[in-house]
């Protein structure tokens, strides 16, 4: 492993003081193999005692060259690859990619397909937030929520499995709509889930929201202001917890989101506790969307008329959606052939992770763990 001090050029490392009465600055490595970094993230910390003076993230351990692969596959063949970026919210990745290609082809998915997409994408948002809550609480020291959330997330994965045969990397959608019609009993399963989950979310809140230890560990920790979020390009629940009411589902609606009533929950303090509250409320709003969608789902075709061989006209397009972690965008350049000339993925986790340094400066080492958890990053998406 390389010497960590070589990374710290911009942190202005001075010579440590020689007397032991002065506190010496200490450089330590966190990760890449560390259970609380949610994957292979290496953070180099510059410490004064327990206080964090600066950090440097070293990423790329999971780099698979997804954007390069895209240039050597047809539009259809690349579709399953996007599921492997944010693997806890694969449905959202697929939705963003399919919509971007549909946009450059200038076709629209039929209404029924859009409703199915919304239902599955919101179920996936719930699954992603549940996984986040369980692991985040575990990092901070509360073990019970992990078992509760994984138990309930299982119900969502069962619906996915029945719908498309896969639980995580679902490849649920196709360019132009959905490949599969809903299975028999799909609506009953979703409705059953809608009745099953609200008391469970109350249960998670009962465990944490007023829990003294949880409040002490999260209130005022990892503060970031709304202006700093915008300057650093931070999106998703982190931005909303800092008081900026912005959600792409409302600002620039895609799929069928303009048909539904829902609120954008926001926080005021921009700390770890508010981000927790915002995500809990988002889960309830997702349930609201799913309930409306399942009640009003229209009949009709699920695939638009698209050519067998997809050859978009020469041009460039950028399309983004509100993934569970923030703005997930696809920038596609077409040269008129069957393979994309360039696909750029704008990953929310990658951009949000950049705010880590600002959020932990001046805080304690233990808070770094809390902040990594609250940013809700997935390293598969950071490194692509």
């Amino acid at each position: 492993m390389t010497d960590p001090t070589t990374y710290l050029s911009h942190l202005e490392l001075g010579q440590p003081d020689k007397t032991f009465l002065d506190s010496n600055e200490l450089i330590i490595n966190m990760g890449p193999q560390h259970p609380a970094t949610h994957g292979v993230l290496r953070v180099i910390l510059k410490l004064d005692g327990e206080k964090v003076l600066g950090t440097e993230c070293v990423i790329g351990y999971l780099h698979r060259g997804v954007e390069k692969i895209a240039e050597h596959r047809t539009y259809t063949m690349f579709n399953p690859y996007v599921d492997r970026m944010d693997y806890v919210a694969a449905v959202s990745n697929g939705l963003g990619y399919c919509e971007a290609v549909e946009k450059i082809l200038n076709v629209q998915a039929p209404p029924r397909a859009n409703y199915i997409r919304v239902i599955l994408a919101e179920l996936n948002r719930l699954a992603s937030h549940m996984l986040w809550l369980g692991t985040h609480a575990l990092d901070i020291g509360a073990m019970t929520p992990l078992f509760y959330t994984f138990r309930d997330r299982e119900e969502i994965l069962k619906i996915f499995e029945k719908y498309c045969g896969a639980r995580l990397t679902t490849h649920a959608f196709r360019i132009g709509g959905c490949q599969y019609e809903t299975y028999e009993g799909f609506e009953d399963d979703v409705k059953k889930f809608l009745d099953f989950v609200p008391p469970k979310i109350d249960e998670y809140e009962e465990l944490l929201t007023t829990n003294r230890i949880w409040v002490e560990r999260t209130k005022g920790v990892g503060y970031i202001s709304g202006d700093d979020c915008i300057a650093l390009g931070v999106t998703g629940p982190v931005l909303r917890a800092s008081g900026v009411k912005w959600d792409i589902r409302k600002a620039q609606p895609y799929a069928a989101y303009s048909d539904f009533d829902f609120e954008i929950p926001i926080g005021q303090n921009g700390d770890t506790y508010d981000r927790y509250i915002v995500r809990m409320e988002e889960m309830r709003q997702s349930l609201r969307i799913i309930r409306q969608a399942i009640e009003r789902i229209p009949e009709g075709p699920i695939m638009a008329k698209i050519p067998k061989v997809i050859k978009p006209p020469v041009g460039e397009i950028y399309h983004s959606i509100e993934a569970p972690k923030g703005e997930l965008g696809y920038f596609i350049v077409s040269d008129g052939s069957t393979q994309p000339y360039r696909v750029r993925v704008r990953p929310p986790s990658f951009v949000n992770l950049q705010a880590l340094d600002l959020m932990v400066r001046g805080q304690l080492v233990a808070d770094v763990i809390a902040v990594i958890g609250t940013l809700d990053i997935v390293l598969g998406e950071v490194d692509r």
Partner: protein, 159 residues
């Protein structure tokens, strides 16, 4: 907005149009930093969504550099595009949007485009000692820095 920009920069703005409902500007590389500054300061494009590039090896100016911007107050997106030759560099936009820091590092890592005045320009996804820039079109899909792999991983090849 476009007309006021055109008045100031005249021929610096080559093209301003809309494709499938998305607005974009094509700007000369000499004028692009001024245009970005104006978009940020006067047109309230306060959120830099993404900075990326595309490689066209047959062209004289091989690279397209693209900024995707968003304005919260207008709820509007715009793309700014400029062309850059191999070996040329541009001033960094980290002073306009701090988020450009990692995004420019990724462009440097993947395409080898350098940004003058960047606070910490080094590779971000690939290891520091790696040779080559993988998203260039002349870089093969299974190509890799064999020497790096042999020295650092102790294996003959990563394939």
């Amino acid at each position: 907005m476009v007309s006021s920009l055109k008045r100031t920069y005249g021929s610096g703005i080559r093209e301003a149009s809309t494709y499938l409902g998305q607005n974009y500007l094509v700007v000369d590389s000499a004028a692009v930093m001024d245009v970005l500054n104006i978009l940020r300061q006067e047109q309230e494009f306060d959120y830099c969504v993404d900075i990326t590039a595309a490689h066209y090896p047959q062209r004289e100016k091989q690279f397209d550099l693209i900024w995707i911007l968003y304005s919260f107050s207008k709820n509007e997106r715009v793309r700014v595009k400029t062309q850059l030759g191999d070996g040329e560099s541009l001033p960094t936009s980290t002073s306009i949007w701090p988020t450009a820091n990692w995004l420019e590092r990724e462009v440097f890592d993947m395409f080898g485009i350098t940004f003058e005045g960047h606070p910490d320009l080094k590779r971000i996804l690939l290891p520091d000692g790696w040779k080559g820039h993988p998203l260039r079109k002349d870089y093969g899909i299974i190509q890799q820095d064999k020497e790096w792999v042999q020295i650092n991983l102790g294996i003959e090849s990563g394939q």
